[in-house]
Amino acid sequence: MLRDMESAWTPFETTTWSVYDLTRYVRQLLESDFRLQELWVVGEVSNVSRPSSGHLYFTLKDEQASLRCVMWRPQVLTQAHLPQDGERLEVFGRIGVYEAGGQYQLYAERLRPAGSGELFQAFLRLKAKLEEEGLFDPVRKRELPDWPAVIGVVTSPTGAALRDVVHVLRRRFPLAQILLAPTQVQGDAAPAGIVAALELLNRDSRPGVILLVRGGGSVEDLWSFNEEAVVRAVAASSIPVVSGVGHETDLVLTDLAADVRAATPSAAAEVATPDQANLRESLLQITADLQFEFGSQLGERKSSWSQLYTRLLRASPLASITNARQRVDELSLRGAAAIRHQLALAGSMISGLAQTLRAVSPQSILERGYAIAIRPGDGAIVSSTRQVRVGDALEVRVRDGSIGTQVTDR
């Protein structure tokens, strides 16, 4: 084994590499080292060039060495800021080999100012520390008031953030009053200014909610919102805080310490307030409820009133009088009928009696051919021979009159 290796070193080695093979071999070596495939490199920028292809070429160097860098056009187009000669940058990318040039170089994908890495490390350390302390605990989060009549705003008086907040609140919840605690939001004075503004609003105590807002900017621009004192002041606020810093993708530590995180200043204003369209709707609804409820109660009252009234009418003396009157009418009708009936009955009885009377009257006997003899002196009816003597006058009554006679024989 040792022999073989030694033999590889002899000048009599027969295998000769082509430049291409060697270059490719080196390339494979570099590209197979994962540490070289995702890395940040810091250095000073020089020799920036951007030919018409749109790719970007530059050199990163420090006192002892330099590194060729290339950024392809698609990545170049996503950069907000392109490197300038003399600038210190941190460049993210992978190491590869440009075979035709025989050069290894950094294929750059992202750029950031030098020191960012350290800043980011500091950010992570502080985040971990405050997390440990429980400053970001979900249980610490408070509900925002439904309708904050007074809204504290901590931001720059001249910034776009204030304009955005005002714009949203004018449209959405113009019932509110904004209490602006103005402060710088970037630069060295910003952290202390923000802390003082938060304290000022807390002392005031009118605000139902505080919006801590700032428009978009670079990581450095937003850095005040990662300062420990500021994050602690947010957590310590006795008034709920909404943090709306930068754009959607920016995360700052005040976002984590606040009761609500909003992606932007506008979003912070929205999340903290009701929409007046909804207010109008619920006002209409409850007013309709009020009118319906009262209306239906009136209706119920009216119907129970009319029921009662009916009962009252039924129970009133007037009703009994009417009743009595009706009964009188009825009775008198019935009385009259009864009397008529009685009269008719009596009438027929009378005519029956008359008939009987007629049947038994002397006249009817006379009619049948009998005669009655009457003593004219006293009018006595002669029914025996012993009542008369010969020579007495007798009146003989017959059907149609009397005949004067004399007793000739007895």
Binding site: W147, V166, L175, L283, I286, L290, F294
Partner: protein
Amino acid sequence: MAKNKSLDKLTYEEAFQELQAVVEQLEAGELPLQESLALFERGQALSARCSNLLEKAQLRLTELTSGEDGVITERELEVGE
């Protein structure tokens, strides 16, 4: 109905909450007509107050600053279009 605060002192929230309470009281029912009517009228007035507040609402922007002596001053700012 002992109604404490005069209408035009009420904030939107106060007026709306009282309106809600009025409706709930009415809904609970069993009130003498006189009281129902008073509640209803109060409710109507509260509703009008809310509506009026919404119509006239104009966002106010007040700047709060603390001087070096700790004295806090307030200044009304224009709310631009």
